[in-house]
């Protein structure tokens, strides 16, 4: 056995030397064909790997990137926020009067933070003005510029990704009627209560009307409308979640007790 291996090993280099010494043969048609098919095969394998990498990038890496950007946005909002981050002493519910309606910021300006306890105790996402892909792809929830601001009678509508780029509304289908959705702005806290969802085709802009899907009706209530794609890994439809404004409290009153821990954590004091 050992002897055989030795002869094979010593035969190899001499064969290679012979090949190198021999004058170069002219390429035959079959050689050219072999070369081309080899290059083509390597290119196809490369394309397959690049496509797989793209899927990994789209479904995983965009979330990592967007989460970092959104955490940063929440942090910078928290730094500018003046007001206690611990709730006021539990007393009889106070009526703080009609909610303050802030003017809409410029495109890509920050409106506030959304807290949805149903989506987990760490769900703190920034709400940004505008629904361009530059806003939605990195900063999370984008406010449709044509709709009202939080607290105003009418429709405060935001869009967010169901998958990729932070997947801010991935769990939108798990909302149960009665779930609280909190929006914190520089002025205070708006508490919305989830009412129902609806699955529509992507061209149904009437869900953004002051009274959703009812053209020409004068709004009397404040509605929060969230839109995202449906089904979860597709975009053939849109899932719409409607919530009604339940209460409002100014920043000076501190956060509602249900989200007090989350607010404190978001503001670096938890």
């Amino acid at each position: 056995m050992a002897h055989q291996q030795q002869t094979a090993a010593s035969a190899m280099p001499s064969a290679r030397q012979e090949q190198e010494l021999r004058p170069r043969k002219r390429l035959r048609a079959s050689d050219v064909f072999r070369k081309i098919s080899q290059i083509l095969g390597e290119l196809l394998i490369t394309a397959g790997i690049v496509l797989l990498l793209f899927v990994g990038w789209e479904l995983w890496w965009t979330n990592v990137e967007a989460d970092a950007k959104q955490t940063e946005a929440v942090k910078s909002f928290a730094q500018e926020f003046s007001g206690p981050v611990t709730p006021a002493a539990p007393a009889a519910p106070v009526d703080y009067g009609p909610p303050v309606v802030a003017p809409a910021p410029a495109y890509a300006g920050m409106i506030g933070i959304m807290y949805i306890p149903r989506f987990g105790p760490d769900y703190t996402r920034p709400i940004i003005e505008g629904t361009g892909s530059d806003v939605l792809d990195t900063l999370g929830l984008g406010h449709y510029g044509s709709t009202s601001m939080p607290g105003a009678p009418g429709n405060f509508a935001v869009a967010g990704h169901r998958q990729t780029h932070g997947a801010v509304l991935d769990n939108i289908h798990t909302l149960v009627p009665g779930d609280k959705i909190y929006i914190q702005t520089a002025d205070g806290y708006y508490t919305y209560v989830f009412r129902n969802n609806q699955i529509v085709l992507p061209d149904r802009t009437d869900v953004l009307m002051p009274v959703p899907t009812e053209p020409g009706v004068q709004p009397t209530e404040s509605i929060l409308t969230m839109t995202s794609c449906n089904p979860r890994f597709g975009a053939q439809e849109r899932i719409i979640a409607y919530s009604m404004l339940d209460s409002w409290q100014p920043a000076s009153a501190g956060p509602p007790s249900e989200i007090a821990a989350q607010v404190a954590r978001a503001h670096g004091k938890g």
Binding site: Q38, I39, E42, L43, V50, L53, F54, W57, E58, W61, T62, Y107, G130, T131, G132, S133, L136, D137, G142, Y144, G145, S146, A159, G160, H161, R162, Q163, T164, H165, L169, V200, P202, D203, R204, T205, V207, L208, T227, S228, C229, F233, G234, A235, R238, I240
Partner: protein, 56 residues
């Protein structure tokens, strides 16, 4: 093709291995920074807005 590139890299074996790793890394960075963001506009997975108001 890749074998041809590897054979034609300068230097001893370990330098060629390092060079090819760097080349793969550069290709990855270029893909993540430019190719993938450009390509993702052709996928519909990220459409989450309603109708014509997608652009403000």
């Amino acid at each position: 093709m890749y074998a041809w590139i590897f054979r034609n890299l300068p230097g001893p074996l370990w330098v060629r291995i390092l060079t090819s790793l760097v080349l793969v890394g550069v290709a990855l960075v270029l893909m993540v920074e430019f190719l993938f963001p450009w390509f993702s506009q052709f996928t519909t997975l990220t459409d989450s807005t309603i109708g014509s108001v997608q652009q403000p």
